[in-house]
């Protein structure tokens, strides 16, 4: 029995039409359509394209979350073992749709999925961490080269074989860091690299320096006396006993807790969950990290109108930037919905 594969393509590659048909709603067809024929041939006897899902690029782009769920249901109905997306070459909306589907399929179905795109397709930057994307030419002229590479990688994934490096398999670097044991200790590798750099010989860094998001601060608040201020911390302050078990490091969650009725945090009611600093003084007086006492005084003095009755907390210690970003976005939405005007962020 061969593996069941579903193929996703846009309205153009389905032969329905160009830009004028880009609002085409999702539909399914049995078997192969368009480039599916070549892909199916490349898969050989081991796997077969049992169905094709088609969607117009504009339709997909107009509401990506909704369409992605819609297309996912159509794919799921074929009971696939794996999914092929595109290739999308340098078509931006098509690439983004393929990437979004790759992300949804990886997360929701947990089955192998491979796409193909030109490296500058915006879908690459958005989704390369979610799926394997074979590097292709910028137009359909590259179909001949893309098809065998996509099929080969998909078969490897289906059979659980070890996937090689990007250059070996032809996929675009995903930006995922994987551990391995090297031949020599890290100290020796570092001295080797140092010698090469000193001599002006070529060397390859083991970790290219990251480029960070920089966020410009919002303009200052004009009417402080009428504003509501919230406290948010990465210093791990939480109700005593850490009821939600926020991790000491590499936090997977944040907590939302009421400070209604608290004028002062003490060791009797709060503590820190943070594992990256000496907790003695934070546990002794949690206000040192989450300054509820001072905020209450200022509230009484009328420096601002109100201290928000909830605070948000997590542990910044070794926590992945992706998790921190997610927590931040969620917390910001909640604060905004609660009418908070300003936030004091405390770290450790």
């Amino acid at each position: 029995m061969s593996y069941r594969v579903v193929h996703y393509i846009n309205q153009f590659f389905a032969g329905i039409g160009g830009e004028e048909k880009a609002d085409y709603a999702p539909e399914t067809r049995e078997g192969v359509v368009g480039p599916g024929m070549a892909l199916n041939a490349a898969l050989g006897n081991e796997a077969e394209i049992v169905g094709t899902v088609i969607c117009g690029d504009t339709y997909f782009a107009s509401d990506m979350a909704k369409t992605s769920a819609e297309v996912l249901e159509l794919i799921r109905k074929f009971e696939p073992d794996a999914v092929l997306l595109g290739p999308a070459f340098n078509a931006g909306r098509y690439g983004s749709a393929c990437g979004a589907m790759g992300d949804a399929i990886s997360k929701e179905l947990g089955i192998p999925v491979v796409s193909g795109m030109f490296p500058e397709n915006p879908g690459v930057e958005m989704y390369r961490k979610s799926l394997y994307i074979i590097e292709t030419a910028d137009s359909a002229r590259g179909m001949g080269k893309a098809v065998p590479a996509m099929a080969k990688l998909l078969l490897k994934l289906l059979k659980g074989e070890k996937v090689g490096l990007p250059a070996e398999e032809g996929y675009i670097e995903r930006g995922l860091r994987i551990n391995k044991f090297f031949e020599t200790m890290a100290s020796e590798r570092c001295v080797d690299m140092f010698v090469k750099k000193l001599k002006g010989e070529p060397f390859e860094t083991e970790y290219p320096m990251p480029v960070f998001d920089r966020v410009d601060p919002n303009p200052p608040i004009v009417d402080m006396a009428n504003s509501t201020v919230a406290l948010v911390t990465s210093g791990g302050i939480c109700p005593k006993g850490n009821p939600d078990h926020i991790e000491a490091s590499s936090a997977s969650k944040y907590g939302e807790y009421s400070i209604e009725g608290f004028d002062d945090l003490t060791s009797a009611d709060h503590c820190t969950a943070h594992g990256g600093y000496d907790a003695t003084y934070a546990d002794d007086d949690p206000d040192r990290v989450l300054p509820v006492d001072v905020m209450r005084e200022m509230e009484k003095e009328g420096v601002f109108k109100k201290l928000h009755n909830k605070f948000y907390t997590t542990v910044g210690n070794g926590t992945a930037v992706a998790s921190a970003k997610k927590f931040g976005a969620e917390i910001a939405l909640k604060l905004k919905a609660d009418g908070v005007d300003a936030v004091i962020l405390t770290s450790t």
Binding site: L165, R177, K180, A186, F194, A320, A322
Partner: protein, 428 residues
């Protein structure tokens, strides 16, 4: 400065009436050690155990690992300013019980102690799964303040390591390693054709139980300074750290600093290794600026062409690493960096908390967030439920059958930023 390390190989530990080495076996008089450590009134109970490579044994929570060493000849004593007088060290002869280690345990900060598995997949990641470990199980008096608890454990480990080696002074060395560093007057004239380089050795000093001690001085209260590589081998730097287990530099890894060893191996061939500069990693911005500027100023006063820089810890100290890097590069020195990564469990996040374009030669000891499953062990020394609170663990890390699922972060020395393991990472 010339130091000979007289290495006596230890393959096995056994209890004995007299502490001594014979045919690769280190016999340990349990009572003498218990008596010696019990004199510390901060400890209510002292127990000893063995953990040997290949055994189905898990040690948790581990605080530090120390190699037994003592002076045979030359000024001063081992671990100066800690268990010996503050006389300088690094010259003469030092006895090393190679293959043996003293492991201290205790629930101090709880988050910040680690795991050593003596066999199974966890053992592949831990340098101290390969040593014959004398484990000190130290129980503090009730309500002992954490800083006192840390100091008591630290001293117990150093005292025991020193005691073991002292008892074996008569043993014949299996091999002798010699390290010799000339005075600057000669060093600056040697190998004129080779670049002059030094090692910038960053010491965790964020304070509040993230401390490193140099000749008994808390490193956060020091300005960057020069230290002889051989002084480090005599225990001039000891760990007082309670910080994530994988990348705190244990006293053992300071004593055996592989960067020093590997730089010495290339000395006179690929560069002229003229010295070691130690610097700290304090938390305030002013401290970071001061220490990085002062370190680089020292490097420039010497007239260096390059600096190899190793970090300790992660996150906040990434800022120190990066400041050291760009300040050195912008003053004309070439740098190579030794660090580790926190790229998330999926490896998808950026690995460092700070960066600069000058950091183009970077070696990493792996992604500390990668998850590992540690199967149950037949014997546990310590408290396995600490896995649920340890940095790198989470509520539920310990399964009912004794399996522990944690990030590598929880394993002692797994991503050592002195480069003490072969672990690294690559991008796919």
């Amino acid at each position: 400065m010339k130091l000979e390390l007289h290495k006596v190989k230890v393959n096995k530990l056994a209890w004995g009436d007299k502490t001594e080495t014979k045919d690769g076996v280190l016999y340990v008089n349990r009572l003498e050690i218990v008596d010696m450590l019990s004199s510390d009134e901060r400890l209510v109970k002292v127990d000893l155990d063995f953990a040997m490579p290949g055994e189905s044994v898990r040690i948790i929570p581990v605080k530090d690992v120390v190699e037994p060493r003592c002076k045979l000849e030359g000024k001063g004593g081992i671990f100066p300013g800690m268990v010996s007088d503050v006389e300088t060290v690094g010259e003469g002869k030092t006895l090393v019980l190679e293959g043996a280690a003293v492991v201290t345990t205790g629930k101090i900060v709880r988050f910040q102690e680690g795991i050593i598995d003596m066999s199974g997949p966890g053992a592949d990641y831990c340098p101290y799964s390969k040593t014959c470990n004398l484990v000190l199980v130290l129980e503090p008096v009730a309500d002992l303040e954490k800083h006192d608890h840390e100091a008591a454990c630290r001293l117990a480990g150093l005292k025991t390591a020193s005691y073991l080696a002292e008892c074996c002074k008569g043993a014949t060395a299996d091999n002798v390693e010699t390290y010799e560093f000339p005075a600057f007057r000669e060093a600056m004239h040697a190998y004129p054709e080779l670049p002059k380089v030094a090692y910038l050795y960053m010491l965790q000093s964020q304070g509040l139980l993230h401390d490193t001690w140099v000749y008994g001085v808390d490193a956060k209260q020091t300005l960057p300074t020069l230290i002889g590589a051989t002084e480090v081998m005599d225990g001039a730097i000891v760990s007082g750290n309670c910080v994530s287990a994988c990348d705190k530099n244990n006293t053992y890894s300071h004593q055996n600093n592989p960067v020093i060893k590997d730089m010495y191996a290339r000395h006179g061939k690929d560069f002229n290794f003229v010295g070691v500069i130690i610097t700290n990693e304090n938390v305030t911005l002013a401290d970071k600026k001061r220490s990085s500027s002062y370190s680089i100023k020292l490097a420039n006063m010497i007239g260096l062409d390059g600096l190899l820089i190793s970090e300790e810890g992660f996150g906040n100290p990434d800022a120190d690493l990066i400041m050291n890097c760009w300040k050195a590069e912008r003053s004309g020195m070439k740098t190579a960096l030794l660090t580790d990564e926190y790229a998330g469990q999926d490896g998808a996040s950026q690995s460092l908390a700070d960066s600069c374009p000058e950091g183009d030669a970077c070696v990493t000891a792996g992604n500390a967030n990668e998850v590992i499953t540690l199967p149950p062990m037949e014997k546990i020394i310590g408290y396995p439920d600490e896995a649920n609170v340890i940095a790198g663990g989470w509520d539920g890390s310990l399964a009912s059958d004794g399996t522990i699922t944690v990030e590598l972060q929880a394993i002692i020395g797994a991503t050592s930023e002195l480069g003490f393991t072969k672990l690294g990472a690559y991008t796919v």
